[in-house]
């Protein structure tokens, strides 16, 4: 009997050792980042589904693997997979001449047929892409010859090229990876045309991207990029300190994973450098004006929240001065956004006065304002992975409490918050504008899209008018008309206070001091890894 027991115990121990040994070998290599041409970055979330025509995937990862026809740069739209293009007089036809030296990672040629198949795959799932207005205006994609395609639109649409330059959905995956002739049911592989190919993916652990030696733009110097899943915060900092990872950046959800003070300390040690991009977006609280049963439907309440945010303190104390206070939805350096708008500085008295005026009364002895039966209670959703959002939320909550407004804070996963935004199941939530490449046109187009800000904007008094103006501005060919229309749109949403700005955010990169060639794209969602080298 003793032997049975002994056997049993040793079996458990042995089994444990064996199981533990199983994955020892395979992953050992990613533990140290010593090798010369390798970069390991931390990400709070798995890269997820890399299908470029859907939205769950990680954008920095998709940006490495897939490419679009044209590229959005500081100097405007530049060629990428298309060498050149023509736009017809009436603005309804775009003819692209494709590069001839491009192949997908699986060796398939990139040609007019591949373009047509990809664009049709995107269009067949149009409901998902309604935020990108091009998807509603694209009539057909015709093959002119092997390396020329023509896109036909239902009407002139000035941001066409900008929308074609985006990280998704108008990017190209090898048609061999299609399932059922399309991509909406998933894909078989992730062969794009970009400088890196996905070679290994362990869900919730890491993903390895290796340099595409046949890249048409020349093989990248950085041979390997590994994306490693780590919980945000101190774990990431530790891994950075120990060299388990050597690169961190503000991810596509705007999550600042590391405390500012901690990064500064780390950089002071000399092993790492901090590089910040110019301001890229506006971080804000989005108010759901369409929710008629909630106080947030009331403009005065939204304005009061606006007045109750002490942006200077947030900028100075929470962001240590790295992000500047924002007073408007778009900072004035964004195209068309240099508009004179009413300044609403931090002023609790003004906030309280605004509420009184609108009939939200603070009864004597009560801590909460009421209007008839309704209590002034609002729910604010924040991303649990972002410690700065939580701190800001608590800070704003305490200010609002002083004027009799109760803010309930709820931390959720980013995906769940995105769901809430698209279904309108929220009062307030943290969000950010989409970055230089997308502002203002895409963000504003997003006002009408249910997946984005429809619920935010649809409850305001002049919603109809707003949407009409947005439709007009997108198809107007005249620069001056566009300018004035944008000014009217921006004034309207500013006066309604549905987008409550907080700070202007940027991308922060923490990288080894020896890494060179770190630059930023116009979109806040990707980094040009192919330009980096040691």
């Amino acid at each position: 009997m003793r032997r049975t027991m002994f056997k049993l115990l040793s079996a458990v121990v042995l089994l444990a050792v064996l199981l533990a040994g199983c994955n020892g070998g395979a992953a050992e290599k990613s533990e140290s980042t010593g090798s010369a041409q390798e970069l390991v970055y931390a990400t709070a979330k798995d890269i997820n589904d890399m299908n470029p025509h859907l939205y769950p995937g990680s954008m920095p990862a998709q940006g490495m693997v897939y490419e679009s026809l044209v590229e959005h740069t500081k100097e405007g739209i530049k060629p990428l997979l298309a060498e050149s293009w023509d736009i017809s007089e009436d603005g309804k036809e775009y003819t692209f001449r494709l590069r001839r030296d491009v192949t997908f990672h699986d060796g398939e040629p990139f040609n007019a047929e591949a373009v047509k198949k990809n664009i049709e795959a995107v269009q067949s799932n149009a409901g998902k892409h309604s935020w990108i207005k091009l998807s509603t205006k694209l009539l057909s994609c015709d093959i002119v010859d092997d390396y020329t395609v023509k896109l036909v639109l239902s009407e002139a649409y000035y941001p066409t090229l900008v929308e074609l330059s985006m990280t998704r959905p108008y990017v190209f995956i090898s048609p061999k990876d299609f399932i059922n002739g399309g991509t909406k049911d998933g894909v078989n592989g992730y062969n794009g045309t970009g400088p890196y190919k996905l070679t290994e993916h362990k869900i919730d652990q890491y993903a390895v991207f290796e340099a595409n030696e046949n890249y048409w733009g020349g093989a990248p110097k950085l041979k390997k990029v590994i994306s490693k899943v780590l919980p945000a915060g101190e774990t990431t900092l530790l891994a950075l300190q120990k060299g388990e990872i050597n690169f961190v950046f503000t991810d596509d959800r705007g999550t600042d994973s590391i405390d500012v003070e901690a990064i500064n300390k780390l950089a002071a040690s000399g092993k790492y450098q901090i590089i910040r991009s110019e301001p890229m977006n506006t971080k804000m609280i989005v108010a759901n004006s369409s929710r008629t049963d909630s106080p947030v439907h009331d403009t005065a309440v939204r304005e009061a929240i606006w007045y109750s945010i002490d942006r200077d303190t947030i900028s100075k104390q929470i962001f240590d001065g790295t992000e500047k206070p924002a007073n408007t939805l778009f900072s004035s350096n964004v195209n068309y956004a240099n508009v004179e708008l009413k300044q609403r500085d931090y002023d609790l008295n003004a906030a309280a006065a605004r509420l009184e005026e609108a009939g939200w009364i603070l009864e004597k002895g009560s801590e909460l304002r009421t209007k008839g039966e309704a209590q002034l209670t609002l729910k604010l959703y924040y991303d649990v992975n972002s410690s700065s959002q939580k701190t800001q939320a608590e800070f704003i909550q305490s200010a609002l409490k002083k004027i009799g407004v109760q803010l309930q804070l709820l931390g959720e996963e980013a995906a769940s918050i995105a769901n809430r935004r698209s279904t309108g199941d929220y009062d307030l939530l943290f969000n950010q504008t989409w970055g230089l490449a997308y502002d203002p046109q895409s963000t504003i187009a997003g006002f009408t899209s249910e997946a984005s800000y429809y619920h935010t904007t649809s409850g305001i008094a002049q919603a109809e008018e707003l949407y009409k103006k947005i439709d007009q501005v997108m198809v107007s060919a005249d620069e001056a008309t566009r300018k004035s229309l944008y000014a009217e749109i921006l004034t309207l949403v500013h006066d309604e206070a549905v987008f409550i700005p907080i700070t202007n955010g940027n991308i922060t990169v923490v990288a080894p001091t020896s890494l060179q060639g770190i630059s930023f794209k116009q979109t806040q969602f990707e980094l040009p890894f192919e330009q980096m080298h040691y």
């Binding site: 458990v12 050992e28 120990k242 996963e413």
Partner: protein
């Protein structure tokens, strides 16, 4: 013995059936309409009443409850737990690997617990009341009173940062197992150590010990007998340690970024990804029942007296 196994198996199977029923019923605790959640998860922007009805029909949610339940059960038996609301992937493709990773961590930890608790339990029982006994008991007592997250953070701080010996997180090599397993081991060793120690102590007072001593048997032989008898209790206890720890690694996994069940479940809760939560409960409850059966069978194999119960 054969009859006992069959009886025990029947009980387990019926228990499993009821468990699956309760797990399915959990759905109805949710304040939200499942069809609406499915639509939200698919990112459908404008959810109308008609659309909800349509989705209900297409997912079979308009069927009678029992029909729905049996449909669900049959697909679960084929490891088809539906798709995640958030990522759209099949639940099993996420849960399967996570289960394996957690199982690995659990087995390493349980091995640690067994070694530690039997080792110290025996030594302390034999030297009851002296300094060693007291200090071991004291240390394990304090460790068991520590929240896992505090213990884990302290360990990371000491072993990974101060001494720079072990990786801080992730599951990259066998060295990654050490810290999380150590935290679990130290956290739980106290409980199992006490069981071993007190069962050793109670054996020490049994008549056969006195008799053995009276007959002049060498002390070693007596100790071995005591050990054997007290380990009988321990086998079933350790057997249950596996599913218990399997279900309690949540905090440790989250701290060490272990790609296991705990991390997956917490993320699913924060992302309101119900199919994963449901599958998680089902899988762990099944593991619990199976290990329970195993521990009873082992107990019966070791001690024929137990076979009569039931």
């Amino acid at each position: 013995m054969g009859a006992y196994i069959i009886k025990r198996a029947i009980i387990s199977v019926s228990l499993l059936a009821i468990i699956s029923f309760v797990t399915y019923g959990l759905n109805f605790l949710s304040p939200l309409e499942p069809a609406q959640l499915v639509l939200q998860a698919q990112g459908v922007p404008n959810i109308t009443v008609e659309l909800i009805a349509e989705t209900k029909a297409s997912l079979g949610m308009d069927q009678p409850f029992l029909v729905q339940y049996f449909d669900w059960l049959t697909s679960c038996l084929q490891l088809n737990f539906g798709n995640s609301y958030v990522s759209g992937k099949p639940v099993w493709s996420l849960l399967g690997p996570a289960l394996l990773h957690t199982l690995q961590l659990t087995l390493v930890s349980v091995a640690g617990i067994i070694l530690l608790s039997i080792g110290f339990g025996v030594i302390c029982a034999l030297r009851e009341g002296d300094l060693l006994d007291k200090s071991v008991r004291g240390v394990l007592f304090v460790l068991a009173s520590m929240p896992a997250y505090l213990l884990a953070t302290l360990m990371i701080w000491y072993f990974s940062v101060q001494l720079d010996l072990l990786p801080t997180s992730g599951m990259t090599s066998y060295r990654s197992y050490l810290l999380p397993a150590l935290v679990i081991t130290l956290n739980y060793a106290g409980i199992y150590f006490r069981i071993i120690r007190s069962s050793m102590l109670s054996q020490l007072n049994e008549d056969y010990v006195l008799y053995g001593r009276a007959c002049g048997l060498p002390e070693r032989t007596i100790t071995l007998h005591i050990l054997r008898n007290s380990l009988q209790v321990a086998v079933s206890v350790f057997c249950m340690a596996i599913p218990t720890i399997l279900g309690s690694t949540v905090v440790v996994e989250n701290i060490f970024a272990w790609p296991g069940l705990g991390t997956l479940t917490v993320n699913s809760i924060l992302g309101r990804d119900f199919p994963i939560i449901q599958a998680y409960v089902l899988v762990l409850a099944a593991a619990f029942v199976l290990f329970n059966m195993l521990s009873d069978l082992l107990g019966a194999a070791l001690n024929p007296k137990l076979r009569k119960e039931l």
